[in-house]
């Protein structure tokens, strides 16, 4: 005979209240696990989509407003290039990549064209001080992670990612419309601002203003246009989570002379979805606490009333109040553990089924959520058992005697 034997046998002696209680806990945990699992994978999917979108924060001169995200650099006003360094050296979390730009109107074969100076990513990585700031070394779950093996850099990624890995001082990337108009092919040599540039790649069509642009190294554009170390815009690839968590505020504090703009609607949508899901999780957590806790409390309270004579007898036989307390709390912990495990299993299966249906995402069980669900179920049942257990431990053992 052990305490566990006593708890186990008593549980099976009264299976109906036990099952009712267990079902309440299982349902609460299931709902919590299912909604949290779907939310988690939905957040990941949105984050991936945000990352795929490319730059999502713009640093502009103070007086500039943006009507067209893709033409945000066509305003003629300038920012010091030193701002790029300021951002790079800051400890701001969530800046996954930087892309300063300077747009200069020029001509190609007698036709007007916009030459945009861009700074390739290799420029940042080459600077020891900037590297020390670790700006591209935070593996924060979105965007490019420096140092990790990746596919060979493709200059054409500029069209989608708005960031390029390497670009020589006299190399150019040509938008698809310009290439078509001037019959330019990869490897051709073109003259811009009085100097020769080799065409590194023809960018795929994007349907944006970028199709009618030519991109060259920022410092080459600055030098040839004689504009000095200035840019029109600094595009930032920011992690959506950090944008929501205060990246924009951080940038505003860092660069008070500049204007910081995010793709507000997109970030806002993401924030709203996340907030909704978080609230739903909290609602289900409250349901778990209320339903599971109440079921456990009432079951155990009734159980103690029903077992008064038995508990009194145990006390007469030498049971201490601590043992009686352990008997009731132990029962609650057994139910809490079973409810947590079953609820996690059922919740994970529900999420696996509901994820593609509700959020169009594939999901898999999250072990950390299992630990959380188990911890919560056990905590709730433990707390719900305290009053009944205390009542049992304080029971008057005289109840085991029949009044004569």
């Amino acid at each position: 005979m052990r305490l566990w034997t006593l708890i186990r046998k008593e549980l099976f002696e009264r299976p109906v209240p036990m099952l009712t209680c267990l079902v309440a806990i299982v349902l609460g945990v299931t709902a919590l696990v299912a909604i949290r699992t779907v939310t988690y994978f939905s957040e990941l999917a949105v984050a991936r989509e945000m990352d795929a979108l490319g730059a999502n924060v713009l640093i502009l001169p103070k007086g500039v407003t943006v009507q067209d995200y893709y033409a945000a650099d066509l305003h003629g006003e300038k920012l010091p290039e030193e701002y790029v360094q300021r951002v790079a050296l800051s400890k701001l979390q969530g800046v996954d990549n930087l892309s300063p730009k300077l747009c200069v109107p020029t001509t190609l074969n007698g036709r007007p064209v916009t030459l945009t100076g861009i700074l390739p990513k290799s420029e940042f990585q080459a600077k020891v001080a900037w590297g020390g700031a670790g700006i591209f070394s935070h593996p924060i779950g979105c965007g490019t992670q420096a140092g990790l093996p990746t596919t060979p850099p493709d200059p054409k990624t500029l069209a989608r990612k708005r960031v390029i890995e390497t670009l020589g001082p006299r190399e150019a990337l040509v938008g698809s419309d310009v290439a078509q108009q001037h019959a330019i092919a990869q490897g051709d040599s073109i003259e811009l601002l009085g100097d020769r540039f080799t065409v590194l790649a023809i960018l795929p069509a994007t349907g944006t203003i970028d199709d009618s642009r030519i991109f060259a190294h920022l410092h080459a554009v600055q030098e040839l246009s004689g504009q000095g170390e200035v840019v029109n815009v600094i595009e930032i690839v920011g992690c959506c989570k950090q944008i929501a968590a205060g990246l924009v505020n951080g940038l505003n504090q860092l660069l008070p002379e500049a204007r910081i703009i995010t793709i507000t609607q997109v970030v806002q949508t993401q924030q709203n979805v996340n907030r909704l899901m978080e609230r739903l999780s909290l609602v289900f957590l409250a349901v778990l606490l209320a339903v599971g806790g109440a079921a456990m409390f009432s079951t155990l309270y009734g159980n103690v009333s029903e077992r008064k004579k038995e508990i009194g007898t145990l006390m007469a036989l030498g049971a201490t109040p601590t043992l009686v307390l352990g008997l009731i709390v132990g029962k609650a912990l057994v139910l809490g553990t079973a409810g947590g495990i079953l609820g996690f299993a059922l919740g994970s299966v529900s999420a696996w089924w509901l994820g593609p249906l509700l959020a169009n995402v594939a999901v898999q069980p999250l072990p950390w959520l299992g630990a959380l669900a188990l911890g919560l179920a056990v905590t709730v049942t433990f707390l719900a058992s305290l009053i009944p257990a205390w009542r049992a431990a304080r029971l008057d053992p005289c109840v085991c005697f029949k009044e004569v």
Partner: protein, 231 residues
């Protein structure tokens, strides 16, 4: 073995006080077989629970082997009860979901003995009360007499020096009652102290000392011939 010094018990219920036990001074020697008789509501159960260390008196002290029972911490008092006191209940108070063997193991488990020792000793006492072939039966699968014998085996499991019995023959048929009273005689012959609360004059007459409780007052019963009337 047991000494009560000016022990009283007063209950407060609904703003009123009920005196269950008037101030009582009593000495119960080791090896005595004492029957407590009296009408319903006279305070017999209160006296039994006070003697068993389960109900603190309102006044006075209860000494068990020279030790003031209610000066002991709750856990120590429970341990002493588990090792030295055995209870017999009118309705047996067997745990319905445990087998006869497990019921008898219970006080041994509460005394902290290993499962192996629990089993060995439980089997031995069940054999003694003639239930070696019923060890895996649950109380509901046993006759009333067998249930009381399992309860007696449970009482004996820890080899208690003191047995406190609450109407041990109250629910039994005459034949089983005789068997149980014979067992009590055996326990007494082994040197145990027995205090039994009873309505049964024949059971009371088996004792070598009879106490009468009326309206919370304990008196020595000097005339065994009148037991039938008082009980």
């Amino acid at each position: 073995m047991l000494r009560l010094e000016n022990v009283s018990k007063v209950y407060g219920r609904g703003g009123q006080t009920v005196v269950a036990l008037q101030p009582t001074t009593l000495h119960l020697a080791a090896g005595e077989y004492v029957a407590v008789v009296g009408p319903s509501g006279s305070g017999k159960s209160t006296l039994l629970t006070v003697l068993g260390g389960m109900l603190a008196p309102t006044t006075g002290q209860v000494f068990f082997g020279g030790q003031s029972l209610y000066d002991l911490a709750l856990a120590k008092r429970a341990a002493l009860r588990g090792k030295q006191v055995g209870f017999v209940f009118q309705t047996f108070n067997l745990i319905s979901y445990l087998s006869a063997l497990e019921n008898v193991q219970m006080p041994l488990f509460l005394a902290g003995l290993s499962p192996r020792v629990q089993r060995e000793r439980a089997l031995a006492v069940l054999d003694r009360v003639g239930l070696a072939d019923r060890i895996h039966h649950k109380p509901s699968e046993l006759s009333v007499g067998q249930q009381q014998r399992v309860a007696l085996a449970r009482t004996l499991a820890n080899d208690p020096a003191l047995i406190l019995a609450d109407e041990p023959t109250g629910n039994l048929d005459p034949r089983t009652r005789e068997q149980v009273l014979d067992l009590f005689d055996q326990f007494h012959a082994e040197g145990r102290t027995i205090i039994t609360v009873t309505h049964d004059p024949q059971a009371a007459r088996r004792a070598n000392r009879i106490l009468c409780l009326e309206a919370g007052t304990v008196t020595e019963f000097r005339d065994p011939a009148r037991v039938m009337h008082v009980a």
